[in-house]
């Protein structure tokens, strides 16, 4: 093993006996939403969530799509981050309900629902939040709750 491999999810090795699998910190919440999972590159990814068609405003766990954009965080810390995507009509409102940061100059880092987070814009009504993975459950709950009255809900990554 090389120097800092113990920080790297990719350094895990499956052999006959062991088959390491990486999970997102939002794994349990997705399971509670009865998500279907698929293993992609050693990570479990929620592909579909029952009822997701009803939500034009979608919340997705995109932790598996890391690493974060160049320069935002040092590479050794990548396993320490989780990511959420909010997309669809009302996505901006959801984000504005959770942060005081102005959204006209992204990416930017600041407090989202009291925790430090990066906000990235992926499209007109598509935002990503990048934050410390130990807050995974918390921010998932907060974002889903904020999106609910606007008709939002969780969605998988097909």
């Amino acid at each position: 093993m090389s120097e800092l491999d113990f920080l790297s999810v990719e350094a895990a090795r499956a052999d006959g006996r062991f088959r390491p699998v990486a999970r997102s910190p939002m794994d349990r919440r997705l399971r509670e939403a009865r998500a279907e999972f698929e293993e992609r590159g050693g990570r479990l990814v929620a592909t579909r969530i029952p009822g997701e068609e009803e939500h034009a405003l979608a919340i997705r766990d995109v932790t598996h799509l890391l690493p974060p954009p160049e320069g935002t965080e040092p590479p050794e810390t990548h396993a320490g981050f989780a990511a959420l995507e909010i997309s669809g009509p009302g996505a901006g409102t959801v984000v504005r309900r959770l942060t005081e940061m102005p959204l006209d100059d992204l990416p930017a880092a600041g407090a989202v629902a009291h925790i430090r987070s990066w906000i990235l814009r992926e499209g007109d009504e598509t935002y990503r939040l990048l934050f410390e993975q130990e807050y995974g459950h918390y921010l998932w709950d907060v974002v889903v709750d904020a999106a609910e009255p606007l008709g939002g809900g969780p969605k998988g990554t097909p």
């Binding site: 120097e3 794994d27 629902a113 807050y135």
Partner: protein, 867 residues
């Protein structure tokens, strides 16, 4: 009761809505407010007053006064005159003992007057002291505004939203709309907010309506109440167009049902096609009020007398009524029968928001109003709020009543009469700011909108000064009542969870807070968990440990200078325990430091210390100019500790690494795949048994946790929580920084003098520690044990008694199943800090004798750890 269809009316007669009032159905039209529909149904009394329980009716019809507050669908203090009707809404009156037209408590009005002057309960109900709770209960139930349903929980959802705009216009009157239009033409991002009740003319820019700005705070922050959403605007530029508010006149009987502000009557006619009364008298302070006479006639109200207060000076006004409802008014002795009295003084600019923002407010003696001046940067005022209110009458402080049989209210919210105010002055409350606190004038739901100016005038006259001298009281947010739920918003309580959190829950763990983290206290039986660690094998989640990488050619020199112990000579792949000290030589944090490479160290900190330590490192790195880079990898890595005699066996099964005692010695650090997961394996023990700490990528945590428990099943593996860990570490006398030490503790006295390497040139806190060494230790942290079989344990923080006086304190104590007795750590005077010294501990309401132990209770020479 409804007039025929009129152009411009807001009601939609084809849209019928039904709600209930006191359980009975009331018919309304779309566009009605609950208040207008109730008025249409014949209701005239809308509330009972705060203190005297006097009947009150619609006064302003614009959401400014306290008169129409009711409970709607369980929510108290809703101003029904501006609350839109909803199908099926349940409306109830409040602060009433029987029902509105017949309130038992109204007796306070009849007999209470002389006995209930302002502040009466400060004076009369203080004796006997014992009875105060009783008095208080009575007062609370007799006075007050509505009732909060304590068991309702979170019934209604409130959200908070942040918005950044170029221009925020507050107020949707003509001037506000014009300002917004101009901003839009300039291409600026503009939003207009207006609190109603009339809808705003829409001209293409975004409008929030009905929405009320509740204050202007630092940095041009304007929170706006928009239904259930609190919108927090940050605006580069704020335009205040809040207009001016009609002021009531002060005369006896001025609160009778049927006495209204002219604007209220106008809204009734224009918006809801209601006839406000049959016979009206109009006392007008400006042109607007004057013009109302015509509208009233058109609505079928007979206008029996119009007085232009700017021309005609009245000396005496008194309103008379029966059962709280207006029947006649006497003007300078002439009595006129009427059921509607529209009376207003000048319109006063609604400058509160401007004053909150820092504007000065000055008195314009010519017109008799207060106007804002010296607006702060970024704030602009337009329209009537600037003082452009036309030609107005300077109304006298109060009109004398001809015979004066009734009360004259200066403040209808809090039922403060002119007599109360005079009495306050007589008692020495000669400044209005003091009187405000004593009488509560201007502190009710109207927030001074209808009583500020009249009370300033009253004060000026009574103290024989003028309004400018009296001045205004400080304007504070909120500008209107706000429900606490709106300020609270959604419940957000961030909690850090380790990547194994759900596994702990699955195993039935009881979770507890440690700093921002949630951690397992135990999985049901902490003593059994501790025993398993001694007997076979335990597994604990230690992911909360702070974890840092320290890198660079100077890394060793850097750590050498930061810590009181040595790190320059630490060999690669070896670990050393370190205690971080402050400049004052105090214990700050502790942890292990592993050297992974010549220029790479891996530092762990306490669970709550990671951020402090990393800031500390960065600070000194900058001060000393070392080229060291620190990276916080706390969240990137999960960590578990395998502890117990069977731990080597289990680790050996899962890795190719040679785990023999010779190849992986105590305090060795190795990198290896464990069950396919890349791990940093640290052979350390916090709990006194053979142990290994595995640090690995967080996303693999559940997988590795499951694998360890599965593969170790036949070795008796069992997870253990913090409580078991606390017992085990006490058996080893390992201190917990922050539990056994405080901000004053130093390593010399905290039982770690061996750690300090005096021969080093310098380290942080050396000078201070030398001082401590010179003066000698005063108190020391030592282990202690109590008699075998003693069932109870001293409290943490419990007293050590020396010569009959408090002389020390217990910092940690547990019952040790291994030793069969209570053990702990305590600070004792130095003369008692020797092996076997007797100490007296205050506990169980008595005293117990304990014995000082300087060596670990369990495995004193560390053989277990090293084997």
């Amino acid at each position: 009761m409804r007039l025929g269809p009129r152009p411009g009316e807001r009601i939609d007669r084809s849209d019928e809505v039904t709600f209930t009032f006191r359980g009975k159905p009331v018919k309304a039209f779309g566009g009605d407010t609950i208040g207008s529909a109730l008025f249409a149904s014949g209701q005239r009394i809308f509330s009972r007053s705060f203190k005297y329980h006097r009947p009150r009716g619609l006064l302003c019809c614009s959401g400014h006064c306290p008169n129409c507050m009711m409970t709607v669908d369980g929510e108290p203090n809703v101003r029904v005159c501006v609350e839109p009707v909803r199908e099926g809404a349940r409306v109830k009156p409040q602060n009433v003992r029987w029902w509105l037209n017949w309130d038992l408590m109204a007796v306070t009005d009849k007999i209470g007057g002389p006995f209930t002057p302002v502040g009466f309960y400060y004076r009369t109900m203080i004796r006997p002291r014992r009875a105060w709770p009783l008095f208080e209960r009575f007062l609370r139930s007799a006075a007050g505004l509505g009732r909060v349903d304590k068991h309702a929980g979170r019934k209604r959802r409130f959200d908070t939203e942040n918005r950044h705009v170029d221009v925020l216009v507050i107020g949707g009157g003509r001037s506000g709309v014009e300002a917004a239009r101009q901003a839009q033409i300039r291409g600026e991002d503009v939003v207009l907010v207006d609190e109603g009740p009339e809808p705003v003319e829409r001209l293409g820019f975004p409008v929030l309506w009905p929405a009320r700005a509740i204050g202007i705070y630092e940095g041009n922050l304007v929170p706006v109440e928009a239904g259930s959403t609190l919108v927090r605007f940050r605006a580069k530029h704020i335009v205040v167009a809040t207009g001016a508010l009609e002021q009531p006149l002060l005369f006896p009987g001025n609160d009778l049902v049927g006495v209204m502000l002219p604007g209220g009557a106008r809204r009734m006619i224009e918006l809801w096609s209601l006839r406000p009364g049959r016979r009206a008298v109009v006392l007008a302070g400006d042109d607007r009020a004057l013009a109302l006479a015509g509208e009233l006639e058109a609505a079928g109200t007979e206008v029996v007398r119009v007085v232009d207060l700017r021309r005609e000076q009245l000396r005496e006004i008194e309103a008379w009524g029966r059962y709280g409802r207006l029947e006649s008014v006497s003007l300078d002795g002439e009595t006129i029968a009427c059921d509607l009295l529209l009376a207003s003084g000048a319109r006063q600019p609604a400058y509160s928001l401007l004053a909150q923002a820092g504007a000065r407010v000055e008195y314009d003696a010519k017109r008799g109003i207060f106007v804002p001046a010296d607006l702060p940067d970024g704030i602009e005022a337009v329209g009537a709020v600037t003082g452009r209110v036309g030609r107005v009458a300077v109304t006298p402080a109060t009109f004398n009543g001809a015979s004066r049989t009734d009360k004259c209210f200066a403040c209808i919210c809090e039922d403060v009469t002119d007599k109360d105010m005079k009495r306050a002055i007589a008692e020495g409350f000669d400044s209005l700011e003091l009187a405000k606190r004593y009488t509560t004038v201007t502190m009710g739901p109207c927030q001074g909108k209808l009583c500020h100016l009249p009370s300033i005038r009253l004060y000026a006259r009574e103290t024989e000064t003028d309004e400018a001298t009296i001045g205004t009281t400080t304007a504070r947010p909120p500008w209107a009542p706000v429900s606490l739920g709106l300020l609270a918003g959604r419940p957000h309580e961030p909690a850090k969870r380790t990547s194994m959190h759900d596994r702990h829950k699955d195993l039935g763990a009881r979770m507890m807070w440690t700093g921002a983290w949630r951690r397992p206290h135990s999985y049901g039986d902490p003593e059994a968990e501790a025993k398993v660690v001694h007997d076979s094998l335990g597994l604990i989640d230690v992911s909360t440990l702070g974890k840092l990488l320290v890198r660079g050619p100077d890394a060793a020199a850097f750590l050498e200078r930061l810590y009181p112990n040595r790190f320059a000579d630490l060999k690669v792949d070896r670990i050393r325990y370190g205690v971080l000290g402050t400049d004052g030589g105090r214990v700050m944090d502790d942890g292990t430091i592993a050297r992974l490479d010549e220029e790479l160290f891996y530092v762990t900190t306490t669970s709550t210390g990671a951020n402090t330590v990393i800031e500390w490192f960065d600070w000194w790195n900058a001060v000393w100019g070392f080229g060291v880079e620190t990276t916080n990898v706390t969240g990137a890595l999960a960590a578990v500790n395998l502890a117990g005699p069977n731990s080597r066996e289990l680790l050996g099964r899962l890795t190719d690494l040679d785990v023999s005692n010779e190849a992986l010695k105590y305090l060795d650090a190795k990198r290896a795949q464990v069950a396919g997961v890349p791990c940093l394996v640290l052979r350390i023990g916090f709990v006194g048994e053979l142990g290994y700490e595995l640090h690995f990528p967080s996303p693999h945590a559940e997988y590795l946790w499951d694998t360890l428990l599965g593969e170790g099943a036949d070795l008796g593996i069992r997870p253990f929580g913090l409580e078991a860990q606390r017992i085990l570490r006490l058996e080893k006398q390992h201190i917990l920084v922050g539990q056994d030490t405080d901000s004053e503790s130093n390593p010399l006295e905290a039982g770690m003098p061996w750690l300090v390497k005096w021969e080093k040139d310098d380290f942080v806190g050396k000078w201070a520690l030398e001082h401590v060494r010179e003066r000698g230790p005063r108190e020391q942290l030592v282990g202690f044990e109590l008699a075998e079989g003693l069932g109870s344990v001293p409290a943490e923080g419990g007293q050590i008694v020396v010569d009959g006086k408090p002389g020390g304190r217990v910092t940690s104590a547990r019952w040790s199943p291994q030793l069969g007795r209570p053990i702990g750590l305590a600070w004792v005077p130095s003369r008692l800090a020797h092996e076997g010294a007797e100490i007296t501990i205050k506990m169980n309401g008595g005293f117990e004798q304990g014995r000082v132990r300087l060596k670990p209770f369990f495995d004193p020479d560390g053989g277990q750890l090293r084997s």
